[in-house]
């Protein structure tokens, strides 16, 4: 099964190189994400598979399509020679393959990567943190600083997109104008399906301690529910429900919630992000801390993902109106 998946990955990659129709390449990229996620699953990385499926196949594809709508569908044939890049790539690849000859074999339990801190996480985290999902406990508790940094990166990316593209309020968009919104079957099915998607996102958010899931995944799924609504019911309808201004504040709120947990423990005489300040019982303190932190992450990821989508789709509207100026 692994080998079949890897072979399909290779085929997809080669096809993605060769095809000049960028729409097709984007679709192939969606397939590639699905295959990658399935492969992650077969390597026991259930949380990563969750994230890759939601992010790679969902959000990234949608963003790329939104970009393609503006930049044109067909790629021109590259003029310069492809042999020099091919040689560079072959040499780099050969060097890397040579490097792997000394690497530990796949699945070797004595590999260096399995020796350092991981045994401690695996043995102690169920007792210390008290939640079964080790990925969540490492993510939100042991490596809380790291995750805080990542949340800031996401927040900054949202800011950067707003700065570069700008984001419109609901007044300037056209509710109900959409090419596929006139399909009755689609509208009905999406209406029925939407509550389940949002409910599933909440389940992923709250169940992240016990199974696969957590703030990152839940935020993305929640956002994709709104994106689906926006796609089917027309540009701007979702914007009336979640105004972009509100989203900006929500993104900041998530980061502030995360950092606030850290500051709270700092003011209580503990180290930054030391959850034991939150409660007397150390295990329940960890529970509360992880819950709050994951909530902060979820809110930030949701609002940033939706903000980025709004910025991209809103841009499409502007360019349609003003693209008539003569080319350079």
């Amino acid at each position: 099964m692994d080998i079949a998946l890897l072979a399909m990955l290779c085929v997809t990659a080669i096809a993605a190189i060769r095809i000049r129709d960028l729409f097709a390449v984007t679709m192939l990229f969606g397939i590639y994400s699905f295959l990658t996620a399935t492969f992650f699953l077969s390597l026991d990385a259930i949380d990563v598979a969750f994230t890759e499926a939601a992010v790679g196949a969902g959000i990234t594809t949608v963003l790329m399509l939104a970009t393609l709508r503006l930049t044109g569908r067909y790629e021109r044939k590259p003029k310069h020679n492809i042999f020099i890049p091919l040689i560079v790539v072959s040499i780099t690849g050969a060097a890397l393959v040579y490097g792997t000859l000394d690497a530990p074999l796949l699945g070797d339990p004595n590999a260096p990567a399995q020796q350092h801190v991981s045994p401690r996480y695996i043995e102690e985290s169920p007792k210390e943190i008290g939640i079964p999902n080790m990925v969540t406990s490492v993510l939100a508790s042991y490596r809380g600083y790291d995750t805080l940094g990542e949340t800031f990166v996401i927040f900054c990316a949202g800011l950067a997109v707003i700065i570069i593209l700008g984001i419109q309020d609901s007044g300037e968009v056209h509710p109900g104008r959409s090419a596929i919104g006139d399909q009755l079957v689609l509208r009905v099915v999406v209406k029925v399906l939407l509550p389940f998607i949002l409910l599933f996102a909440l389940y992923v958010q709250l169940h992240g301690d016990y199974g696969a899931g957590g703030g990152f995944q839940a935020g993305i799924i929640f956002a994709s529910g709104f994106i689906l609504y926006d796609l089917v019911f027309g540009e701007g309808d979702a914007r009336l429900i979640v105004p972009p201004n509100f989203l900006k504040r929500l993104a900041a709120l998530g980061v502030l919630l995360y950092a606030g947990v850290g500051l709270y423990s700092l003011f209580n005489g503990k180290a930054f992000l030391d959850y034991s300040a939150l409660s007397d019982n150390p295990t329940s303190a960890q529970h509360i801390g992880i819950f709050l932190v994951e909530l902060g992450v979820g809110i930030t990821v949701f609002s940033v993902a939706l903000t980025i989508f709004f910025a991209f789709s809103g841009r499409a509207q502007i360019t349609v109106k003003t693209d008539r100026r003569p080319p350079l």
Binding site: M1, A4, M8, V11, T12, A15, I19, D21, F23, A24, T26, M27, L28, G30, I31, F34, L35, A37, T38, L41, S42, D44, I46, A49, F50, A53, A54, A57, G58, T61, V62, L65, A66, L68, R69, R73, S178, A179, I180, L186, V190, L193, I197, F200, V204, G211, A212, G213, Q217, I221, S224, I227, L228, L231, V232, A316, V320, R324
Partner: protein, 90 residues
């Protein structure tokens, strides 16, 4: 029998992948992409059951939803883009 089903699903995925690479029109590719997604859902469900993965049902559920969203997105943006040139012509 489980094994046979897994093999069948993988073979189908491969066939759909070939169609996605060949597909003369963009709609063919959409269809093939959708089919690969559905087959991935089935592969996770059946393969996860066969190999005893824990928590595979959640992932399959997520895949089913995301697959729908991405195929809707492809359709919407593709359709929209095609109407643009005709508007410019008028």
């Amino acid at each position: 029998m489980l094994f046979a089903a897994v093999v069948a699903i993988i073979v189908t995925m491969g066939l759909a992948l070939i169609r996605a690479c060949l597909g003369p029109t963009a709609y063919d590719r959409m269809l093939a992409t959708n089919m690969v997604g559905t087959k991935a859902v089935l592969l996770i469900a059946v393969g996860g059951h066969a190999l005893g993965w824990s928590g595979y049902a959640d992932i399959a559920l997520l895949y089913a939803m995301i697959n729908f969203i991405s195929s809707i997105a492809v359709m919407r943006f593709f359709e929209y883009q095609k109407t643009l040139p005709s508007q410019e012509d008028e």
